[in-house]
Symmetry: C2
Subunit: 152 residues, 2 copies
DNA sequence: TTTGAAAGTTCTACGTA
DNA sequence: TACGTAGAACTTTCAAA
């Protein structure tokens, strides 16, 4: 993973529509050499997948809610069941097990409060949680899929 | 935005490597008809961009930190300055203004605690915050860019 | 590393309902 | 306005110089 690979990743994670030829030019390589590097990054799994990012506003998904969860259950079996239920909810776009005060943190994307309430009810019904707290995002100031490559 | 468009969006936000021909088959359309729909979704901005998603683990970005921020400054000028500083930090991948107890929530991606401490210092130095609290993710159970299309 | 060519894909032109 | 056929232009992919 040299400087050229890093440059290619930087390009790809910001815009994956460029042709191999255009990227080759940007990193001063022949098309084939560049193509082989990208191929290699894909095989090694450094590039996980290529996706289209949609505009939440246009899909009427204007509401982002962060939900923190505390639980009394700390056995593996409960965790696995809980994890499965939450992962299967398409409204939950992020889901972490946390250190500290809170046990789990979820980011939920929905059209409005009513839809959120449905998701909330499903959550507490299906998993028996001791303490659930919701915080609403008023404004999304930044949200990027581009990872910082400064450390690489 | 009919059922076919929705299906195309669903495909595209999960895998944008399929050819137009393959997608056309999936939605029972000719290649051209399908191509025009995708073109249209792009022009309307429903499809915002196409990107490659990278594997954080392989880039040694194994640490995710959620940072909550409270501030005494509530004027627009301070907000804009603060917002600019934070948005320009590549380690900050998400950044929201919140309702309730906390004023701002940041998701930060770094290789390790040392790197996080650097980011933390930069944050408090550049913006003069009254209360900053960090929570560490122990495990990423779900993280998807695919928005729920059930409401569309 | 580069050339080059086969296979595949995107995109345009034009016609139909 | 939405779809289809056909083909030109471009891109990807890979073998061989």
């Amino acid at each position: 993973m040299d400087k050229t690979d890093k440059k290619l990743l930087d390009i790809l994670q910001n815009d994956a529509t460029l042709s191999v030829g255009a990227m080759a030019e940007a990193v001063h390589l022949s098309t084939t050499a560049c193509w082989k590097r990208i191929q290699n990054l894909e095989e090694r799994g450094v590039i996980r997948k290529r996706v289209a990012l949609l505009d939440p506003a246009q899909l009427k998904l204007g509401m982002t809610v962060f939900v923190t969860v505390k639980t009394n259950h700390h056995d593996l079996q409960w965790l696995q069941a809980f994890s499965q239920v939450v992962r299967d909810m398409p409204e939950v776009v992020e889901f972490y097990r946390m250190s500290g005060e809170v046990d789990y943190l979820l980011r939920i994307v929905v059209p409005d409060i009513q839809a959120y309430d449905q998701v909330y009810k499903r959550l507490i019904k299906d998993t028996r949680l001791s303490d659930v707290s919701s915080s609403f995002a008023m404004e999304e100031l930044k949200n990027t899929t581009a990872l910082p490559l400064d450390f690489v």
